[in-house]
Amino acid sequence: MDLRARSDDARYALHLVRQNVLVLAGTLLVIFYLVISLTANYLVEPSIAYKFDFAQSYCWSNSVISWGKNIEPCPVGINPVLGTDGFGRDLLKMIVLAIPVDISVAFIIVAASTILGVVLGAVAGEIGGKVDEVILRITDIFLAFPGLLLALVFAAIFGRTMQNLIIAVLLVWWPVYVRLIRGQVLSEREKNYVEALRALGTSRTRVLFNHIIPNTIYPILVQSTLDVGGVILTFSALMFLGFSPNPALPELGNLAADGIGHVFTAPWLIVFPGLTILVITLAFNLIGDGLRDILDPRLRR
């Protein structure tokens, strides 16, 4: 791990980022959303999530967008920018409160599944033999399920607390990393520097964790970035289908679920939270996709 080589790498990567409009846009969007999630509690008073006022539920008073007939106008004096939801809370403020919840949950899940998947995959690749077989078969079992369905079954069985939902989605996402890192480890093992390190007497664990894994970090980085978006989609879909621990929880899928029975009379409840999810996921996917192009070893130098 030569530090100067790494910093040259990083500078070249930044240069490529600046050149590519889409990746730049994605980066700016992600920074924007991260700033919002860090300052959300200062922008909006967090306790309004639990102040219900049913006199003003499902109303819209912004004259910029007209949703057609059958839309209830808000009582005089209340002017929510994006309308109100079923509990009478201002939708824009709820979305701002929901963004940190979604993003932090997504980061936790991706970090945990990356660590779990990388460790298991590295162990499988390094030790080989029976351990490799067993880990691969278990991974196959998990991969043979479509993602959302697996998360659904786990969520239904584990129960509806936030922790259980995080574990449910985690169990869906970790197998991808095992396959990824195992292939990388298998190919890195054959290289000369590993042989040199073993000749020097370095233990296998040290070689694996201090040398091989850092050299295979790029595909993991790309996959993690892409997965943040995917996890947000899966998690909010779970919430949308009704698994949220608390109907008033500020979370984008939960806010959208509120609008299921009122699609034609209060469409903003589904449109705006969904749009937010789309933009956040798109931003992370833009970065991940751009990273994949930038870090492609064949396109550099």
Binding site: V21, L22, I141, L148, A156, I157, P273, G274
Partner: protein, 332 residues
């Protein structure tokens, strides 16, 4: 492959029967009016008080005799009947979605590759990634809102908002295959077929939107690879027009990996159409599995999990064999 199936059945069985969960496995056989004695009688009748591995062996014996258990919430019908009556609808939806993915995704990918790094490439990439990032339920509701509600209020011809066939036309054609479109064509009833088509457009487009982008990216990547090859340069230097170079020479080789991957999509679409079917009230198997999860019906979930896993495993195998077929360098 059998090991994976066994593993899945073990895992789902343990989750459904053994894990201390919100749903007791006898939930669907028990009504609220029963007292503790009757509940105990039902537990003993179905064998839920035996040790877990014994239950598993009984369950295996039952399946191999063709008895998949009963779904009490679906009027006590046998599970495989409930599954089989709805499965063709999911197949219809999946096939329609796959056709859309191929028809839209491949040209998008080719366009991206030809105009690499120009504006149209960036736009196509944006469209592809947007498709990849859209929440399915959001897209489904937007389509419903626009094409059903707003078209209706504006007086335009509107697409139906749900179901597979209009209630007025349902049952007017004998179901041979179970897929409404095919049945209509086989019976020669064009009204029925057109109605079924109108019903399938929106859900199929919703389903396909997510995978479109992915296929387009893959076609773009493999097309770029192919276009760098020497024989393409040769064809160009012979004086052939760009169109012939791409259509006749590059396309065949670039599409190979993409087509085999379409098999994988189809398999995962089959399993994952849960949300789309829920939003459009499509009478398919995904919607049913959602109900099964909420009702705690372990029999149906086991059947659904095994069938879905089987389809995905077969699709994976087909993709692997397809790769070996297309690329003689890959050996097994």
């Amino acid at each position: 492959m059998t090991f994976v199936l066994f593993g899945i059945s073990l895992m789902v069985f343990y989750l459904a029967r053994g894990f201390p969960s919100a749903f007791a496995p006898w939930t669907q056989y028990v009504t609220r009016k029963m007292n503790a004695q009757q509940i105990q009688a039902i537990i003993e009748q179905h064998g839920f008080n035996k040790p877990l591995w014994e239950q598993y062996i009984y369950w295996l014996r039952d399946i191999f005799q063709g008895n998949w258990g009963y779904s009490n919430w679906a009027n006590g019908l046998p599970t495989y009947e409930v599954f089989a009556s709805r499965f063709p609808y999911t197949v219809e939806l999946t096939v329609a979605a796959t056709i859309l993915v191929i028809v839209i995704g491949i040209p998008l990918g080719i366009l991206s590759a030809i105009r690499n790094n120009k504006v149209s490439d960036h736009i196509a990439r944006l469209v592809a990634l947007t498709g990849y990032s859209t929440p399915t339920y959001w897209f489904a509701y937007i389509l419903q809102l626009v094409f059903f509600y707003y078209f209706y209020t504006l007086g335009l011809p509107y697409l139906p908002s749900g179901g597979a066939i209009s209630p007025t036309l349902a049952g007017t054609v004998t179901a041979i295959t179970g897929l409404p479109i095919l049945d209509g064509i086989l019976a020669g009833n064009m009204n029925y077929t057109l109605d079924a088509l109108a019903h399938v457009i929106l859900p199929a487009f919703t389903l396909s939107f997510t995978s479109l982008g992915y296929l387009a990216r893959i076609v773009r990547a493999s097309m770029l690879e192919v276009l760098k090859q020497d024989y393409i340069t040769m064809a160009r230097s012979k004086g052939l027009s760009e169109k012939i170079v791409i259509c006749r020479h590059a396309l065949k080789n670039a599409l190979g990996p993409a087509m085999t991957l379409t098999g994988l999509f189809t398999a995962s679409l089959l399993g994952g159409a849960v949300v789309t079917e829920y939003v459009f009230s499509w009478p398919g198997v995904g919607d049913l599995s959602l109900q099964a999860v909420f009702q705690g019906d372990s029999n149906f979930l086991l059947l659904y999990a095994l069938v879905t896993a089987l389809i995905i495993i077969i699709a994976n195998l087909t993709v692997d064999i397809g790769y070996a077929f297309l690329d003689p360098r890959v050996k097994y």
